[in-house]
């Protein structure tokens, strides 16, 4: 079965369980911590994906590592994944869980790339504009990209709103080639 489909199934089941237990916020903070760990610690990442590690060792280690550090529900979920031999998909499952949380809370994450640093007012203006457009709480992530020359691009989901000079020049170039 494909990795995305596995992640979707486990994430949905776990999320629904957390919601029923009214532990969504706690669980999501655990998930973020686990995801940060997988990204930062190469050893932990290796441990998740290495098929050479025996299942017993894996279960034992997961138990020791997380027992007192995360909520009992999250801990049980990790052990369950270890028993089902699905730890290799942990990162993707976490990503999917974050997506489900955003959907549940009505949050829209947008990626703003700007040629220059945005002032607080500008940032507020962005948030307000997108809040009105999507009727969701906007969670922006701003990056500085001098390649854009001037202006900005905003990515919300799969859609990009390109208002940069670099983008306009590219369109202009294409139109000239076509003409």
């Amino acid at each position: 079965m494909s990795s995305t489909r596995i992640a979707e199934r486990y994430a949905r089941a776990f999320f629904e369980l957390a919601r029923d237990n009214d532990e969504v916020d706690k669980v999501i903070s655990d998930v973020s911590a686990i995801r940060t760990l997988t990204m930062k610690s190469r050893d932990f990442h290796e441990f998740l994906i290495n098929p050479g590690i025996k299942q017993d060792t894996r279960i034992h280690l997961i138990g020791e590592l997380f027992e007192s550090r995360i909520s009992p529900l999250s801990h049980r979920f990790l052990l369950f994944l270890a028993r089902k031999k699905r730890l290799a998909h942990l990162n993707e499952i976490c990503l999917r869980l974050e997506g489900l949380y955003d959907l549940h809370k009505g949050i829209l994450k947008v990626q703003i790339d700007s040629a220059e640093e945005l002032s607080i007012d500008q940032r507020q203006a962005f948030i307000l504009r997108f809040q009105r457009k999507f009727h969701k709480a906007i969670q922006p992530n701003v990056r500085i990209k001098p390649d854009l020359i001037a202006g900005f691009t905003v990515r919300a989901g799969d859609t990009i709103y390109d208002c940069s000079v670099a983008g306009m020049l590219e369109t202009f170039k294409k139109n000239i080639i076509k003409a």
Binding site: T4, R5, R155, D158, I160, Y161, M168, N175, A179
Partner: protein, 517 residues
């Protein structure tokens, strides 16, 4: 071809583009490349992409969305996949693959997307047509009734092709399939038929050769070559026939006539099989995907003779299929045979025996072409078919017999001469009136007293004489287009007189004989 660049024109274009330049927000949908390999990119995102939509990779490379799956989109990459990397952005273009059409394409060589590859000027993309369109409906069509002369005697007489027909050219490798197609294009000179030659999976050198031949005979003035050669990626080879068809449809739908040659559809089927397997579609017989029949039927259904209300234009299709060891019962040949309105079957045995074009008259048929033959040819060819069939039967039988009665020998002699007149050189198409003359001579016994070796010479001389001495008879036949008593008498008179001259010349030439073989 040198590009005629005028500085004023460039300035004007730049000025116009600058005047239209406005600051605006561009909104587009993107996805991310998850994996790429074997010409297929798997992309995450692009949630609203359409099936068959063109997409653009961040390097400027184009692709076509073929598989829309739950988690990702399977995209066929048009070009070098090495330019695409994991994590690259893929942009939607909101357009289904389309190609430029119109007169600007005449005389050009283009790729499957309509981009020129002959080093000439860019082709204007003002007039675009989607490459995948539905075939004309039932009401929009009419019967095939006008002939499309190939200039090849054996085809025009026995398996005539009408405008709007689909006639398959099938045979092993090196049996002269392409030659028939090229001769047909050459013969369309002055007939107001726009020709399209789609080369699929061929060597580039072959395409150059075809181009040179067409140019030599002045046929590039009304021909476009669409080339997706063996070195082009499979998606291009799969698309090329549809692109060519879209270009030809422009003429069909504007009340004009077009001829398209798909050389060859076996290669297209193989390219599609490659794509389908890489896209993980389930394989069927000979590992072809389940929709391989539809691949060809939807393409060939677009050939049609349009109704008078729709302008009475036509698109004639001559698909080519290559067989292995004369096996017409393989998957793709049987499919295409069942789709088309007849087939011209070429055999390597005949080819090597010197019978060229190596058409097997017994297995070749034309299901609708008879209605599109001129009456004179239909009448003449009627007895030719019968004579040839009898000859084949007797020839096979007589191989075991030593003594033959006079009637059988006569029939064999007649048949041998008919087989001889069916021979024709490459790139030497013949006018229909001349074809009627020579076939008439053959079936009515005018050649019986001429030795087989001298039949080609007789034919060549007769062709020359028909252009000069007997031009009135040719004119009469062209005018009447029917074998009336008057026309018959004119032909007989011309033939008798020509034969006398021919015999005299032969007597003057020492060493030559007129004895029957």
């Amino acid at each position: 071809m040198a590009i005629d660049l005028k500085p004023e024109e460039v300035s004007a274009i730049l000025k116009k583009q600058l005047a239209d330049f406005r600051l605006h927000t561009e909104i587009y949908e993107v996805g991310t490349v998850i994996s790429v390999g074997d010409g297929i990119a798997r992309v995450h995102g692009l949630s609203k992409v359409m099936a068959g939509e063109l997409v653009e990779f961040s390097g400027g490379l184009m692709g076509m969305a073929l598989n829309l799956e739950e988690e990702n989109v399977g995209i066929a990459v048009f070009g070098d996949e090495k330019m695409v990397r994991e994590g690259d952005e893929v942009k939607r273009t909101d357009t289904i693959a389309s190609v430029p059409t119109g007169e600007a394409l005449i005389g050009r060589i283009v790729d499957a997307l309509g981009n020129p590859i002959d080093g000439g000027a860019p082709i204007s993309r003002d007039e675009l047509l989607q490459i995948e369109t539905k075939a004309p409906g039932i009401i929009d069509r009419q019967d095939v009734k006008e002939p499309l002369q190939t200039g090849i005697k054996v085809i025009d007489a026995l398996t005539p092709i009408g405008r709007g027909q689909r006639e398959l050219i099938i045979g092993d490798r090196k049996t002269g399939k392409t030659s028939i197609a090229i001769d047909t294009i050459i013969n369309q000179r002055g007939e107001n038929v726009y020709c399209f030659y789609v080369a699929i999976g061929q060597k580039r050198s072959t395409v150059v050769k075809v181009h040179e031949t067409l140019k030599q005979h002045g046929a590039m003035e009304y021909t476009t070559i669409i080339a997706a050669t063996a070195s082009d990626p499979a998606p291009m080879q799969f698309l090329a026939p549809y692109s060519g068809c879209a270009m030809a449809e422009h003429y069909r739908d504007s009340g004009r006539h077009a001829l398209i040659i798909y050389d060859d559809l076996t290669k297209q089927a193989q390219a599609y099989r490659q794509l389908s397997l890489l896209l993980r579609r389930p394989p069927g017989r000979e590992a072809f995907p389940g929709d391989i029949f539809y691949l060809h039927s939807r393409l060939l259904e677009r050939a049609a003779k349009m109704s008078d209300k729709k302008g009475a234009g036509s698109l004639t299709a001559l698909p080519v299929i290559e067989t292995q060891a004369n096996d017409v019962s393989a998957y793709i040949p049987t499919n295409v045979i069942s789709i088309t309105d007849g087939q011209i079957f070429l055999e390597s045995n005949l080819f090597h025996a010197g019978q060229r074009p190596a058409i097997n008259a017994g297995l070749s048929v034309s299901r609708v072409g008879g209605d599109a033959q001129i009456k004179a040819m239909k009448k003449t060819a009627g007895s030719l078919r019968l004579d040839l069939a009898q000859y084949r039967e007797l020839a096979a039988f007589s191989q075991f017999a030593s003594d033959l009665d006079a009637a059988t020998r006569r029939q064999l002699d007649r048949g041998a001469r008919l087989m001889e007149i069916m021979k024709q050189g490459v790139n030497d198409p013949l006018d229909v009136a001349k074809q009627v003359f020579i076939i008439y001579a053959g079936v009515n016994g005018h050649l019986d007293d001429i030795s087989i070796e001298r039949v080609p010479e007789f034919q060549a001389r007769l062709n020359e004489a028909l252009d000069s001495e007997y031009i009135d008879a040719v004119r009469l036949l062209n005018k009447e287009k029917e074998l009336t008593e008057e026309v018959k008498n004119a032909i007989d008179e011309a033939l008798v007189s020509f034969k006398q001259n021919f015999a005299k010349e032969t007597e003057e030439t020492p060493g030559s004989s007129t004895a029957s073989s």
